[in-house]
Subunit: 388 residues, 4 copies
Amino acid sequence: MGSLADFQNEIYLQGLGDVLPALPTDLTRLEALAERRMSAQAFGYVAGSAGSEATARANRAAFDRWRIVPRMLRDVAERDLSVEVLGTTMPAPILLAPIGVQSIVHPEGELATARAAAATGLTKVLSTAASYSLEDVAAAAGDGGRWYQLYWPKDRELAVSFLERAKAAGYTALVVTLDTFTLAWRPRDLDQAYLPFLRGIGVANYFSDPVFQKAVGGPVTDANRDMALLHWVANFGNPSLTWDDLAFLREHWDGPIALKGIQHPDDARRAVDAGMDGVIVSNHGGRQVDGAVASLDALPAVADAVGDRATVLFDSGVRTGSDVLKALALGAKAVLVARPYAYGLALGGEAGVRHVLRCLQADLELTMALAGLTRPDEANLDLLVRDH
Amino acid sequence: MGSLADFQNEIYLQGLGDVLPALPTDLTRLEALAERRMSAQAFGYVAGSAGSEATARANRAAFDRWRIVPRMLRDVAERDLSVEVLGTTMPAPILLAPIGVQSIVHPEGELATARAAAATGLTKVLSTAASYSLEDVAAAAGDGGRWYQLYWPKDRELAVSFLERAKAAGYTALVVTLDTFTLAWRPRDLDQAYLPFLRGIGVANYFSDPVFQKAVGGPVTDANRDMALLHWVANFGNPSLTWDDLAFLREHWDGPIALKGIQHPDDARRAVDAGMDGVIVSNHGGRQVDGAVASLDALPAVADAVGDRATVLFDSGVRTGSDVLKALALGAKAVLVARPYAYGLALGGEAGVRHVLRCLQADLELTMALAGLTRPDEANLDLLVRDH
Amino acid sequence: MGSLADFQNEIYLQGLGDVLPALPTDLTRLEALAERRMSAQAFGYVAGSAGSEATARANRAAFDRWRIVPRMLRDVAERDLSVEVLGTTMPAPILLAPIGVQSIVHPEGELATARAAAATGLTKVLSTAASYSLEDVAAAAGDGGRWYQLYWPKDRELAVSFLERAKAAGYTALVVTLDTFTLAWRPRDLDQAYLPFLRGIGVANYFSDPVFQKAVGGPVTDANRDMALLHWVANFGNPSLTWDDLAFLREHWDGPIALKGIQHPDDARRAVDAGMDGVIVSNHGGRQVDGAVASLDALPAVADAVGDRATVLFDSGVRTGSDVLKALALGAKAVLVARPYAYGLALGGEAGVRHVLRCLQADLELTMALAGLTRPDEANLDLLVRDH
Amino acid sequence: MGSLADFQNEIYLQGLGDVLPALPTDLTRLEALAERRMSAQAFGYVAGSAGSEATARANRAAFDRWRIVPRMLRDVAERDLSVEVLGTTMPAPILLAPIGVQSIVHPEGELATARAAAATGLTKVLSTAASYSLEDVAAAAGDGGRWYQLYWPKDRELAVSFLERAKAAGYTALVVTLDTFTLAWRPRDLDQAYLPFLRGIGVANYFSDPVFQKAVGGPVTDANRDMALLHWVANFGNPSLTWDDLAFLREHWDGPIALKGIQHPDDARRAVDAGMDGVIVSNHGGRQVDGAVASLDALPAVADAVGDRATVLFDSGVRTGSDVLKALALGAKAVLVARPYAYGLALGGEAGVRHVLRCLQADLELTMALAGLTRPDEANLDLLVRDH
C-alpha cells in the first residue's frame, strides 16, 4: 500500500511538466471559488448556517485554541492511518459526512461523490435527503464503504422501509441524525425563499419508497406530486422522539448505530445506555442552533463520558489535516468532513471530490508524521496544549 | 394557536411563487440597509451610541461568550413560548423596548409600531419621548399589550399627570428609565448638532399635557413654542433623584413598576427593597455610558441578587433568537428589543416592524426547540457553557 | 461656575442655526483627519510609535478590558470635577501632556496650545523640546496652570539653568521624563530620515539658554549653528542617570516633582523613597519601548505601591471621557492627554486644541454623572469590572 | 567598538542630505514589498507555511501576549550586547537562521547573505539545502561566524561526508534540523507544483559531494542529472531516526551540536541527556506542522527543562528588537532570524540583508537600553508580564 501522502510527490512531479493542480490544495480556499461557480440558491443552501452563523464561526475558531506540540526523533517511517470504525475498515480516519440534495451542487450529485469516495477507499455516509435513491448511489459506490444516514420520519412504517432498503443495498452502519427534526432559521435560504425539497429535490428516497408511495396513492407522478410533497413536509422530521424510541431503532437495524448531533455528555451517556454503538459529536456544521457550542469544544466532555463503551466520531468544522489530528487527540476515533467535498463537487464533479479527499488524507498523514505519530490511535491529549 | 415558527414555512411556500421576503431575515443585516434609507440625522440618532461606542460593541460581543449546548430527543413537538410578565401575557418573551421620536424614522412612527406589535400580540413599551401622544398610540395599538415608559421629569406634578394619563389610556405596567436623566456625549448627534427634541420632535406627550401647558401659559402655539421647548429642556431629566424618591412613584402608580437601566446587583437589591416589581438590566443599547459593562455580562449577578423577589428583564444588544434564549438562560424572564424594529420601521413601516417581530419569534421558537426546550422557563444556566 | 458639559448644549443649540462643530466630537476620529492636513514628516513624528507600534495598540486595547458599572439614583445634580494636583487646582483631572516641536504641527505651536489650555483653565505641561522658549510660552499662557517638563541633559549646569528659568517664568511643578534619554527605533521617522531637532526645531529652550550659549561660544547664529546642533545631540539625553541623581533634582527645585515614565511598582516605590511628590505612569504613548506593557495595565500595581505617599498620574492612550474615568478608578489622580490635542492643533490651531479639551471635559462630566459620580475622588475599583 | 544603535544616527544624519533608507526600517513591512519583487514561485516558497498557515500566525500572535515592563534610572550608558554561543562570540544575540535555495530569492543567494553577515559580525547558519556549496559560502563569509546546518540524509556515509567537509571549511558548530525529514503539506508550493530541488536548485551540497557522486556514478552531468535528482529525493530526509542515532552524530562531529525543532520539554531533556550542547526551539517558521504550538509559547517550558545543562536558542517569528528581547527573557541565549533577511536579500541583495541585520541590532540595543538593560544576560522573566 502506498502512502496517502504520495499525492504530494505526484503534484510536484507533474509540475515539472507544467501541470498544476486543478483546484487549490488549501481546502479553506474552496468556498470562495465555489461561490463563483454555484447558483446563488445552491451556494446559500450549502454555505449557509443558522441565524447569524455564529456557530459556524465558532466551529472554526475552536480549532485555533488547541495547538499541537510535535515530538521529534520517533521513527515515523512506517505509517498506517487505517482504522476500523463501527465494523468498517477505512484507509484514514475520515468519512464523508451525509449531505443531502447534492444535485443542486452538481448534476451527478451523490453518484459522483460515491465514486470519488470509492476511489479513495473512504466511507461515504449517504443522506436520506439525497438527490438519488440509496440503491442508485450504492450501485455507483462499488466496493466503497457505505453507511446510511437516517432522517427519522414521523411514519414508523416508512422508517422501517428505509432501514430495510439500506440493509438490502449493502449499507453496513446506520447514522441517525437527531438535531434536524425541523430546519433551523436559515437566513440565506429564507432570503431566497429557497427550500430544495419543496422543488422536488432531495426527495428521491421518499418518492421511490413503497411505503411512501402507498401513502400517496401510488408512484409519484405529475398528478399526485403536490400531495407527495405535502406528505414529505408532514413526515420529514419527528420532533416528538425521545430516548425511549431508540429501542425501536435497535429492533429494526442489526448493524452498528451511531447518533449524530450529540453535544452534551449526558446525552452521550444516554445514547450508550440505550445500546447505541457510537455517537457523532456535531452541531450540523452550525446549520441548526445559532450560538451553539463549537463542536470541538463539546468533544472532550463527550469522549470522557463515553470512554470505551462506544465509538466517538466528530463532525463540524474540519478543513485541514491538522483539524483532523486535533479531533483525534481530543477523543474522536474518526471525523466526518462535509462542506469541503461539496465545494470540490461543485468545482470539479467526481474529480473535485477526489482532489479534496486526497488533499485531506495527504495533509493528515504528513501532519501526523511531522508531529511524531504513525497511527491514529497514538493521538491523545498529550499531543496538545491549550492556547488561551 | 399556530406556531410562531409558521413564518418559516410561509416564506418557503411563497418562494414557490417567486415571492421573496421584502426584508432580510437575518436581523443583523438591517442596519446597513436602513442607513441607505434614513436621513443622516435620523440614522445617526438611532444607530449612534455614547462616546467611542465601545459599550454598543461590548453588548454584542458578550453574547458570543456564552454558547448553547443543545439537548437531543426531548419531545419538543408541543411548544408554548408565552409568558406572563408583570401581569401581561405575551406570546413570546419579547417586548418592544421604548424608543422615542420614531417619526424621524418613519412618518407613522409609534403608530405603525403599535399596530405591528398588536398584530403579533407582543407588548410595546411606549416612550415618554414618543412622537405621538400616549393616547394616540394607545388608540392605534388596539388590543395589543401596552406598557408606559417614564422619563421622570423634574416637575413632580407633570410626572403625576403622565402617570394618570397612561393609566387612563390603558397602559398596564410602568417602566421607569433611570439611566437617561441627561443625554450622554453622543458624537454622531453632536457632529450633526442634531437633537430632535429641540426641533419639536418627541415632545408630543409634553405639549399635549395639561400640567405642561399650564406651565407655559396654555396650549403650545407658534407664540410660546420656543418657551415650551426651553421648559422641556429644563424639565426633561431629573439628575437629583435618589432611591427615596421611588416611594413617590409607588404612591402614584398602582400597577407593576420596573426600573430600567439597572446594571449593578446592589442597585437591583435596592429596587426590590423599594417595592419595585421588576428591574430591566440595560445600558440603553450603549447610548449612555461609553465603556460600560456589556448588558449581558451584568445580567447574571443582577438575576442572582433579585432571585424570586421580582421580575428581571433584559435589554441591550438582542438581535437573534439565540440572543433571546441566552438572556433567558442567564436569568431574564423576557427581553426588550429595540434597534432592529426601528430599522424595520425605517425600511417598511408597520409591515417592516411586523417582519422583524415575526422573524425574531420564529427564530426563537426554532432555536429553543432545536436546543431541546419547549417553554421559556426551561431555560437556565444548564443550557450554556462559557466560551473563553 | 458652569458645568463642563455645557459644551453639549452649546453645540445642539448652534445646530438650530445650522452651525456644526468644526471638528469631530469623537476624538478617536481626529487622527485620520489630521493625517490629510499635516506634512508626512510631521504626521509620522506625532502619530508614529516605536518599532511595530505594538505598545501604542496595547495602550488602547487595555481600556477595553475594564468596564464601568454605572450606578443609579445617586443624585448627581451637583458635580464638581475640579482637583488639586501637586499644588495646582484644575477644573477637571486632565492635563495637557508635554509634546515637543509643536511648530511642525502648526506655526503657532505651543503658544496656541498654551492659550487654549488657559481658556479652559487646564494645566499645560511644557516640554523642554518645545518649539518656543519656556518664557515665550509662559507669556502666552497667561493665568493658565503651568508645569515644566524636563529632559534632563548631560550637562548638569544646563539642567540647573532650565530649572531656574522655569521657576522664574512661573512654572509651578516639575515633570521629569525618565524614559527618553535616547529616542527609540521609530520606523516612521527613520523611513523619512526625519528628526526635527537636527533641522533646528525643538531646540528653542537650548539655544536661548545662557549655559548652552556659553558652551557653544555665544548666541547661536549661522556660524555656530551646526556646532550648536551637535552640542544638542551630545547633551539631550543622559542614559547614565540613576536613582541617586534624584537628590540633585530635589536640591535645585523646591516645588513638587513628578517622575514620568514609571511602569513598575518597584520603580514607583523608589521614586517615593527619593522624595518625589508624584509619578506619572506612562510609556510615552508607545513611542519608546515597543512591546511594552499597556500603560493602563501598569497603573493598578503602581497605584497600590504608592498608596497615599505621593500623587499618581496617568498618561498614554487617553482618548475619551470613559478612558479618563477608568484611569481614575484604577488609581490615578488625574490624566495627561497628548496626541488628541496635537491633532486638534493641526486641524484648527488654538481653536482646535480648545475644541478637543472641551469635548474631553464634557464627555468626562457626562460619563461620570451617568455612572453615578459627582467628584473624581469617588472613582475607585468598585466602579469597574474586568471584561476578560 | 561603536554602538549597534549608531545606525539610527546614521540614518537621521543622511536625511539632512535628503538620503532616505533604501528599505523600510520596520521589518514587518518587508514581506509585502518583497512580494512585488519576487517571482510567484519564489515568494510562495519563502512566505508560505504549512496547511492553513495557522502556525505562522500563532508564532506572531504569541509575542503580543508577553509585555515588557521597562525599568528606569538604571545607568544604561554602557551597553554590550555581545554573547558567546556554542563557542562563537557574536556582537548581538542574533544569528541568521539556515534558509535553503536562496538563489531563488537573489542570484547571489547565500554568498550575498554570508557577506552581509560577515559585515555585521553576526553568525550565519548555512543550510545543507543551500544554492551554493558550503565551501563557496565559507569563502564568501570571510571572517564571519560560520555554523553548518545538517539535513540528515538517509545515507550515513553522505552525512559523514557533509560533516567532514563542514569541519574542513571552518564551520564551528553544527545545527541538526529534526523537524523536516519530509516536507509538510504546503499549499502555496503545491498550488504552483513548485519544488525548487526538483529543478536542480538547492542541491549544490549534494551534487558537489564525493559520496553522493559515487552513488550516482560520478560528477553530475546532463547524462545522470535525473538520476541524481531521484537519488536526492530518496536520500534528503530520514524519517526513521530516533534518539539513539544521536550517538552517531556525536561520534562524527567534535564541535558543539544543537538540535533544531525542539518544542516539547521532554524532547529537550532527551537532547541534553544525549550529550547535545544546545536545542533550538523552533517550528520551522510554521512551515512544517500546521496548528502547532507557537514557538514562543513552547520556549519557557523547554528553557526550564534544560536549565544550565545546555544552550537554548529560539527561532520562528522574530521580526523586531522587542521580539528578540522577549525571547531572551523567556530563556533563550540568542535567536535566529529568517524570513526578514530573505526579504532583505530579495529587495537589495547583500545590502538588503545588511540593512535588515543593522535595523534589528539597533532596534534591539535601543529597546534593551530603554527597558533598563545593558547586557543580554540581564533579561529574565522579571522583565515581562503576561498580557491575557
